[in-house]
């Protein structure tokens, strides 16, 4: 029998207008850094290796092993902190967060605590259909190591521990409670994800756990300046889960407050199935992490030269790229937005546009056919078999009149399926446009024979039927006929 605890949710909820309250949200985002090796040892960070194969004395927490910090971790964390406009601290300290858990090999997590790498930054989000442009202050950016993985459903009665992930570097980005709605939380997260992707700090993949979000949420009467009691939401597996969980929890809190009850400070798990929160069973009788500076790691010193180098090496950020797309490629605001939403899509577009030269067509194709194909196949763009040069070749064939627009779409579909080049497919499938008059006349005669009444009416002066007949010829040619020439030849033949 299972007795599931539930959080208090007064039935009066519906009668209380949450309009009387304001949502106050702060987000804690954990981001796995894109390094080759772990934070404190030389083990690989590959995802998906057999259990306990990317391990060594350090990340297994063997007696006598010691941590040594990976320089690239510092540089990636700095990249994020600089892009978030943070104040970078010349001295930061690693601390030990002590607690027992089987996937925490040393019995403590190495994490920055009261002396983080960076503080006091901000992230500005653009206006969208639902939310106005806004700036969310960043409390801090700090470096820490990940724990391993506990698998509870693999073997009966026991938990299985895989330490491949133990010691993988993370940064935690903590926002101030500046977010006022679920939609604004979503906008913040999308902007943050986009920024981190551009910075090549992380592959920001929520499914693989390289981006994780916890939310602190409270409700207060509109106009109040003090904060209400907050709850912490965990188990948020997607941005939409964040938004739905925030709305659900806010409604629960409003109902409590509206009924004159109090919100209890606690950690809640979002259950996507039941679309409700439930309290997390606490791991400890009380959370007393006994933080203290890790004596194995001297202070991390970040000098001006390092900050300058990282700053100079910053990749182009979304806003700058958007402006450049409008300027160099002559794109409109909407197209520039869509193409810069993900760094990799934009880079793909740029390659197509450079090779094909007609950037507007390139943009339409990447935003249309390419994105549709990726979505249909649930593929990341870097694993898409059709490379930008292949798309450019296809567009060249259309521009030169070798392929019709309709045929080009069919060719593209086959390219995505087979990975073959456009010219190969066009030749193999006989999709190249037919402009040979003899062949066209043959189709025209067949169409006239099959649609005699229309042909006769057209010849008698119903010119609008000419288009209909051209359509029949196009259909008969499976789209290969050059419609302009068909039009001319048909008009000649019918004497109109």
């Amino acid at each position: 029998m299972s007795v599931r605890e539930t959080v208090e949710s007064p039935r009066a909820a519906d009668s209380v207008a949450s309009g009387a309250f304001e949502m106050v949200v702060g987000l804690e985002v954990h981001v796995q850094l894109l390094t080759r090796t772990k934070a404190f040892c030389r083990c690989a960070t590959d995802f998906g290796a057999p259990p306990n194969t990317n391990v060594c004395p350090v990340c297994l927490g063997l007696p006598g092993a010691l941590p040594v910090l990976n320089e690239h971790v510092v540089d990636l964390a700095l990249r994020a902190a600089i892009a978030l406009d943070c104040e970078i601290h010349p001295v930061s300290i690693f601390a030990r967060k002590n607690y027992f858990y089987p996937d925490l090999p040393k019995g403590y997590q190495i994490s920055q605590y009261d002396r983080p790498l960076a503080t006091a930054g901000r992230l500005t989000t653009d206006a969208t259909g639902e939310t106005a442009a806004s700036t969310v202050r960043i409390t801090r950016v700090h470096i820490e190591e990940d724990a391993g993985k506990s698998v509870h459903d693999r073997f009966a009665g026991v938990s299985a521990i895989d330490l491949n992930r133990a010691g993988v570097p993370l940064i935690e980005i903590v926002s101030e409670p500046d977010i006022r709605s679920a939609a604004a939380a979503g906008a913040y997260l999308r902007a943050l994800k986009q920024l981190l992707e551009y910075l090549e700090v992380s592959d920001v993949n929520m499914e693989e756990g390289s981006l994780r979000v916890d939310a602190n949420v409270s409700a207060r009467p509109v106009g109040a300046s003090t904060l209400g009691t907050k709850t912490e939401l965990k188990n948020l597996n997607s941005f939409s889960a964040v938004e739905r969980a925030l709305d659900a929890e806010f409604a629960r809190q409003c109902a409590l407050l509206g009924a004159g009850q109090r919100v209890m400070q606690q950690t809640l798990l979002w259950d996507a199935g039941s679309a409700a929160v439930r309290p997390a069973r606490s791991k400890e009788e009380s959370h007393d992490y006994r933080y203290f500076p890790d004596p194995d790691l001297p202070p991390l010193l970040v000098d001006r030269a390092r900050i300058k180098r990282v700053r100079n090496d910053l990749p182009e950020l979304p806003a700058a790229r958007k402006a450049r797309y409008r300027e160099t490629f002559g794109l409109g605001a909407y197209d520039a937005d869509v193409l810069t939403a993900e760094r990799s899509l934009g880079s793909y577009f740029e390659e197509v546009a450079r090779a094909h030269r007609d950037s507007k067509t390139a943009a339409n194709w990447v935003m249309g056919e390419v994105r549709a194909a990726l979505n249909a196949r649930r593929l990341e763009i870097d694993r898409f078999p059709v490379r930008p040069a292949d798309v450019a070749e296809l567009l060249d064939l259309v521009a030169s009149g070798t392929l019709s627009g309709t045929a080009a779409k069919r060719v593209f579909a086959l390219m995505a399926e087979t990975g073959d080049r456009a010219s190969q497919i066009a030749a193999r499938e006989g999709l190249a446009q037919v402009r040979d008059d003899a062949a066209l006349r043959e189709w025209i005669e067949q169409v006239i024979a099959e649609h005699e009444p229309e042909a006769t009416r057209c010849a008698r002066g119903e010119r609008k039927l000419l288009g209909v007949l051209v359509g029949f010829v196009m259909k008969k040619s499976k789209g290969r006929a050059d419609p302009k020439r068909v039009n001319q030849l048909l008009a000649e033949r019918l004497g109109v």
């Binding site: 040892c41 259990p51 990317n54 910090l69 320089e71 001295v91 330490l163």
Partner: protein, 103 residues
């Protein structure tokens, strides 16, 4: 300042040390007596000592983001108490057991 039996039980729990009541009682007395000797620290002049914890210290040297990993001369299975299919095994976590009815 004396340390109570409850405090000893609390820190023993934090440290995952299963100790008997008898041992806890003894520990409470020992710790109280040891910490009594620490009272001399209350005379430390914080002003004079403050701020010097990191000043002048050298920072840590960093390592390049390169392998190869430090080799294990014996595989985990050689020293692990219990392994199956490459995983370390532990008793099922309480948070993942079938929940017991709340009192």
């Amino acid at each position: 300042m004396s340390i109570s039996l409850d405090e000893v039980r609390h820190i023993a729990a934090l440290a995952r040390l299963g100790i008997s009541d008898e041992r806890a009682q003894l520990a409470a007395e020992e710790l109280t007596s040891i910490l009594a000797h620490m009272q001399v620290l209350t005379r430390v002049d914080d002003e004079r000592a403050a701020g010097s914890d990191t000043d002048g210290k050298t920072g840590m040297t960093l390592r390049p983001d390169l392998g190869p990993p430090i080799p294990l001369l014996r595989a985990p299975a050689f020293f692990a108490p219990e392994m199956r299919e490459g995983f370390f095994l532990v008793p099922r976590l309480a948070t993942h057991e079938d929940p017991e009815p709340s009192p």
